[in-house]
């Protein structure tokens, strides 16, 4: 993974000392809250319901064992012993004190981490496909480009005061696992007719109160032009994005109001002014960044022999077989596998991680995965790679820490925002609903029978739980002081990206889990052979679900 150089260390160190002084001045009354608020937000520090919340950047989800241990230590020393993985591959701490924050940032800087630009109207953490550099279907490793974008966007002088937050995702696989179509900018690595790789550039996607699927404004952008083209997009947005209405300020509104074709013309016109200039990526610089993501020292293993050995192990241990079936994905290197570590134990808050679990994952990453892990935007972790021969031992070790639930991509692999239990913006709780759904569907045979399905829960219209793109999406509302949940169906963040459709009237907090079960039972009753949820949804439409939920009339 990327290693900080002297410039990076200096930048982060100076930022810590700058913020230390800002905190000191705030506590001494030399800065008002109004003056201080944007400064703390630019360092990822929110004031939430119960305490300050610190959002730590995990660039494109990559973590080393050393960093995992530091995150565990911060949870123990400065929080209540746990953290929370977010839908943007970051980690959040919910019980932070302002007076401790400079020391926390120091502890992060010591392991090449920070909380810069995890809040505020700036370019946020660039996210990537969690199987980057490992997937069997990968076209090219997206992490190289995520790192280049990260360096370009960090403290960018022109883009530190955008109309609103800005989110970029990069996908490198044949299948999109980074939700590129629902980001402000999504970049999809593609091959042209000559076999060269470049980017499909997608702009204007997003969730929140006005969900939009992004538009392709350029089908193929040569890689050397990446930064100049991004600069052109951001310049157009910075100039024309609305600043009069916070709810109309994202780039998706500008693209929608302008029209994608006209928007693309504006970007191309801006780009014509700056292409082939200082922002053109030199090949040697790309090579330098690429060298940080060189494959680990794999052993030369026989693919078939490894597969036979694993088959024998799974045949002998049904519980292990179930975990392999649900949580393991194919790695491009023979004899190795991608391991999804579920942070969705039955009945627990999705994505929460105790200090002990973070330490355990650090140790296991060192032992089995070259000392690295990845955070996914579905709030789980990934080891890529692990030797297939080590999978059984790893499974047993994960099980000792409640990290071996075989539910990846299934009914209890729920994505949920912190909701009204933690968040100042929330209108309803999300975690208790996730816990109850998890309990209701705890039976593994039942989950296996349901198959692949996504369940997303947001505690408010800001959609941090990505409910719009869940096969089953829940949006928590406040109706005259009571919690209600609006259900959407048919959402998807993959290659067939779609915004879910509202199924009907919202359900009370007491009725929503039954409603979700009714939806699942309806799906199973009408599903045709080989269909997954959205296949059935597209074929039968809303009527069967609406009839079962609300009655035929």
């Amino acid at each position: 993974m990327y290693q900080y150089d002297e410039f990076d260390h200096t930048l982060v160190g100076e930022r810590v000392e700058q913020f230390r002084d800002q905190v000191k001045r705030r506590l001494a009354g030399k800065l008002s809250e109004e003056e201080f608020r944007p400064l703390r937000l630019m360092n990822g520090l929110y004031l939430q319901l119960h305490a300050y919340m610190l959002r730590v950047a995990i660039p494109y989800g990559m973590l080393s064992s050393r960093q995992l241990r530091a995150l565990a230590d911060i949870a123990r020393r400065f929080d209540k012993g746990y953290g929370h993985f977010t839908t943007r591959q970051n980690i959040q701490y919910n019980w932070i004190k302002l007076e401790d924050t400079p020391d926390i940032l120091d502890a992060l800087a010591a392991v090449d981490m920070h909380a810069i630009q995890t809040s505020g109207n700036c370019i946020r953490n660039v996210t990537a496909d969690q199987y980057a550099g490992a997937a069997a279907d990968e076209i090219e490793d997206p992490r190289v480009w995520c790192e280049i974008i990260r360096q370009w966007s960090t403290l960018h002088p022109e883009f530190s005061f955008l109309p609103r937050k800005f989110k970029i995702a990069v996908s490198g696989g044949a299948r999109d696992r980074a939700a590129v179509r629902v980001h402000d900018i999504g970049l999809r690595l593609r091959r042209d007719a000559a076999g060269e790789t470049g980017f499909e550039v997608i702009v204007g996607g997003g969730l929140g109160r006005t969900p939009k699927i992004g538009h392709t404004i350029r089908g193929f952008l040569p890689k050397r032009h990446l930064l100049s083209y991004l600069e052109a997009i951001l310049r157009v947005y910075n100039q024309l994005g609305r600043r009069d209405n916070i709810y109309k300020a994202r780039i998706k509104i500008l693209v929608s109001d302008t029209g994608p074709d006209r928007f693309a013309e504006m970007v191309e016109r801006e780009w014509a002014e700056i292409r082939d200039g200082a922002l053109t990526l030199p090949a040697e610089e790309v090579a330098r960044i690429t060298s940080h993501f060189a494959p680990p020292p794999f052993d030369a293993l026989d693919r078939d022999a490894a597969a036979r050995a694993l088959a024998a192990e799974t045949a002998a241990a049904p519980a292990f077989a179930r975990w392999v079936d649900a949580n393991i994905a194919a790695h491009r290197q023979p004899g190795y596998a991608i391991v999804n570590i579920s942070f969705k134990p039955i009945g627990e808050p999705p994505g929460d991680a105790t200090a002990a679990q973070l330490d355990a994952v650090a140790d296991l990453a060192e032992r089995y995965s070259f000392g690295e892990a990845r955070v996914t935007h579905e709030q789980n972790l990934v080891f890529a790679p692990v030797r297939q021969a080590d999978l059984h031992a790893l499974w047993q070790a994960l099980g000792r820490h409640r990290l071996a639930t075989p539910n990846i991509g299934m009914m209890t692999d729920i994505i949920a925002c912190p909701g009204l239990d933690y968040c100042n913006l929330a209108t309803a709780r999300s975690i208790p609903v996730a816990q109850r759904i998890s309990e209701r569907f705890r039976d593994l045979d039942r989950q296996h029978d349901i198959g692949a399905i996504t369940v997303n829960i947001s505690g408010c219209i800001n959609a941090c739980g990505h409910h719009h793109v869940g096969n089953i999406g829940l949006l928590g509302l406040d109706k005259k002081g009571e919690e209600f949940y609006q259900i959407t169906l048919g959402g998807s963040a993959d290659d067939n990206a779609a915004i879910g459709a509202v199924v009907g009237s919202a359900f009370s907090e007491g009725a929503v889990v039954d409603a979700v079960e009714t939806i699942v039972d309806t799906y199973l009753a009408v599903r045709a052979d080989g269909e997954q949820f959205n296949d059935t949804w597209r074929r039968v439409g809303v009527e069967p679900f609406r009839d079962r939920l609300y009655g035929a009339d």
């Binding site: 001494a28 929460d352 239990d421 002081g481």
Partner: protein, 108 residues
């Protein structure tokens, strides 16, 4: 009795606090000053504003509460969660009694 209390977050650590009868700030909603009298709520507001200006608290605001049998209960769920702590998960487990802040507040 239904009345108003003032809540805020302590500047230094972000913890939830309530304006008390003696003009200080307590983490226990049971200690809060509750009033439905205009002149008293006016004094409460002035006290809270002074506390903000002197870097004790941030975000001071009135909340509706019900007082019954000596127990102060927020009317809104959001404030009940602020008073009693998260209703879920590791925070609740750490607190041991079902809410992160350790105070007896019912959540509907």
């Amino acid at each position: 009795m239904t009345g108003q209390a003032i809540t805020a977050n302590r500047l230094s650590d972000g913890s939830v606090v309530y304006l008390t009868r003696d003009g200080g700030w307590s983490g226990n909603i049971g200690d809060s000053l509750v009033s439905d009298q205009a002149d008293e709520t006016g004094r409460m507001k002035a006290t809270a504003e002074r506390a903000e200006r002197s870097q004790q608290v941030v975000g001071a605001c009135f909340i509706d509460v019900e007082v019954e049998g000596g127990t102060v209960q927020p009317v809104r769920l959001r404030e009940a969660i602020r008073a009693g702590g998260p209703t879920v998960g590791l925070a609740a487990a750490h607190a041991g009694n079902g809410n992160g802040n350790g105070h007896r507040v019912s959540v509907r």
